[in-house]
């Protein structure tokens, strides 16, 4: 067990190294440099000085090695060329909002998606099933940038406690997390339905029925464990995606999360923020995947971690 986790963490380290390499060279190949952005009219000498100050004048391979060295020895993710602030500062300041948004969106996604999926599977080809899957389809096909404004127009306009946009009051979490979580909820509903249907077709479900269990107990005691495995495996990456993919929702509802910094950095070619944030997200994904696999293993007696 411990060995397995260590192995996975080591693998994660390799993933991080590969991630860093990809981002480093892609950003390195982007034409121009962070200081050539259009609006700033700065003289060539000043530009050279600024490049020197951020170490961007050195050959690419040196830069490639310096960044991880600084990360390991000083724990530094660099300084933003755009905002002139340490990247850690930016992350620590904006991550909590993204985290809260992501967690509450995940709760909504699981709370809505999984029950709909189970219900649809047990009532296959009935009105309940069709209704549930229709809702799921809507969740998949109507993107957050339509749902968000519509929620603002309907709920926020009618209910005074819900502000159209802003972040500060606990109630402000509600609308953005619904907007963010709905798509994931829809995907989870379809995933759960599919795997539950597969399990409900298994021979051992028939055995359970033959034992005299009522339909409800058959589903809860015998089908749910296997039926939820794919969903559990999906929740790990989905959670990471909710945290790292909330730019649009953050924009609509003016949530001071990490998304804006990240997109900005990509547009402005801020190499340090890009590297730092990608590494940070990568770490998050590695851990979430590990957590999901561990939970899945705990649910499934056939997977023995010692052997892998």
């Amino acid at each position: 067990m411990l060995k397995y986790i260590l192995q996975r963490l080591l693998q994660g380290l390799l993933v991080m190294a590969a991630l860093y390499t990809i981002v480093f060279f892609l950003v390195g190949w982007m034409p121009g440099d962070p200081f050539s952005s259009n609006e700033k009219n700065i003289s060539p000498e000043v530009r050279e000085n600024m490049k020197k100050a951020w170490g961007l004048d050195k050959p690419l391979w040196q830069q490639y090695l310096i960044y991880p060295k600084n990360l390991i020895t000083e724990g530094s993710l660099g300084v933003s060329t755009e905002k002139n602030r340490p990247v850690w500062d930016i992350i620590l300041q904006s991550f909590p909002a993204s985290l809260i948004l992501g967690v509450s969106a995940l709760f909504i996604a699981v709370g809505i998606g999984v029950p709909i999926g189970i219900l649809s599977a047990t009532k296959k080809n009935t009105a309940i099933d069709y209704g549930g899957m229709a809702i799921a389809m809507i969740g998949i096909c109507i993107p957050s940038f339509i749902i968000g404004p519509v929620l603002q127009l309907t709920l926020a306009a009618k209910i005074p406690a819900l502000k159209i946009a802003g972040w500060g009051h606990p109630l402000d979490i509600i609308l953005p997390s619904i907007t963010l979580g709905l798509g994931t909820a829809a995907y989870l509903a379809r995933l759960t339905r599919g795997s539950m249907l597969e399990i409900l077709n298994q021979d051992y479900i028939r055995t359970a029925k033959a034992k005299g269990l009522k339909t409800f107990s058959v589903v809860i005691k015998h089908a749910l464990r296997g039926g939820l495995l794919p969903s559990v495996a999906f929740i790990g990456p989905a959670f990471a995606a909710l945290i790292s993919g909330s730019f649009i929702v953050e924009t609509i509802f003016q949530v001071p999360g990490m998304g804006q910094h990240f997109v900005n950095a990509a547009i402005k070619r801020d190499p340090f923020v890009l590297r730092g944030v990608v590494l940070f997200y990568g770490l998050l994904i590695v851990f979430m995947n590990l957590a999901a696999d561990l939970i899945a293993a705990a649910l499934n007696p056939r997977i023995r971690l010692e052997k892998t």
Binding site: L14, I22, P143, P237, S244, I267, V277, V278, Y281, G282
Partner: protein, 308 residues
């Protein structure tokens, strides 16, 4: 002392899988309706848009801003007095092109990669799949932005002949170049299953080259799931482009896409709701159609689900 009786599979009449699937698909009304809708959308966006009576989507008329739907402008005009209907048609061209071309790129890379990985097996397979795992950990959105900028420069010369489409092709490639991961996994699983089958052994014993066996004999048998997944990938890429455009980093003027129209509409949400609703409707209905068609194809082609 056992009587051999015919098994179920022997009893089934042999019929071509493709024709079978088509017959099943034809019985799925929702999928057929979706297919017609997609066809209609393609005709409207690419053929009707060329007709002389369709207004120039970029022609501004500041004296006729926010005109409600009327005989002149059947869907009204936007904040710059441009005809909404023709903007939807031309925006639809881009959205559809993104869906199809990016999916084509993803299919090409994904199938080749997955097929080689699955066929090679062993260490090669392990390494190739680790690479896929790593790429999964990259925040997709940001990398597409970066990649688009990186490949836009070198491609500029070659794409001049494409006119107004020239500056969006890099986006197609960026999306496709990163969107093939799941396709590769699906193909790999399929290839691994098929390469164990007897006809492959037969082909090997005939002395055919490995490449020929793989791409002429194995890959065609994996296309079913790939087609299904590709049908579901098209709407997700359309959605993805819309998200990029919504953030202002996707399609650039003079082109527009449904995502841009929705974003513009959302700005005038409170007073001119139709500017959000009409493009949103076109957009969502198209996504619905692709998803329903994909679901229908999956039901029709999925061998596992074809038994009642």
């Amino acid at each position: 002392m056992r009587i051999s009786l015919p098994t179920e599979s022997e009893l089934e009449k042999g019929s071509s899988l493709g024709r079978d699937a088509w017959a099943r698909l034809r019985k799925n009304k929702l999928a057929m309706l979706s297919m017609c809708f997609i066809g209609l959308m393609l005709i409207i966006c690419f053929i009707v848009a060329q007709l002389p009576f369709i207004d120039d989507p970029n022609e501004q008329n500041l004296e006729n801003r926010f005109a409600p739907p009327s005989g002149d402008h059947i869907m009204g005009t936007d904040q710059l007095g441009r005809d909404l209907f023709s903007r939807i048609l031309f925006g639809g061209q881009i959205s559809m092109l993104v869906g199809f071309i990016a999916t084509g790129v993803a299919l090409l890379i994904g199938i080749t990669y997955g097929a080689i990985s699955g066929y090679a097996g062993g260490r090669t397979d392990a390494i190739m799949m680790r690479v896929v795992d790593t790429l999964y950990a990259i925040p997709f959105l940001v990398l597409v932005i970066v990649l688009k900028v990186v490949i836009a420069g070198p491609m500029e010369e070659q794409l001049k002949w494409m006119g107004r489409f020239a500056n969006i092709v890099p986006l197609f490639f960026a999306i496709g170049a990163l969107g093939w991961l799941t396709l590769a996994r699906i193909t790999r699983t399929q290839v691994m299953a098929i390469k164990e089958q007897e006809f492959v052994e037969a082909a090997t014993s005939l002395g055919l080259s490995k490449m020929r066996i793989l791409f002429r004999h194995i890959v065609p048998n994996t296309l079913g799931p790939a087609i299904v997944y590709a049908t579901l990938t098209i709407p997700s890429f359309i959605l993805f482009e819309a998200s990029l455009s919504y953030l202002g980093v996707g399609i650039e003027a003079p082109n527009s896409s449904w995502g841009i129209l929705i974003k513009e509409g959302a700005d005038f949400l409170e007073t001119q709701l139709y500017l959000l609703i009409i493009p949103g409707l076109f957009f969502s209905l198209t996504l619905f159609a692709f998803n329903f068609l994909g679901d229908g194809l999956r039901d029709a082609l999925d061998v596992r689900a074809s038994k009642d």
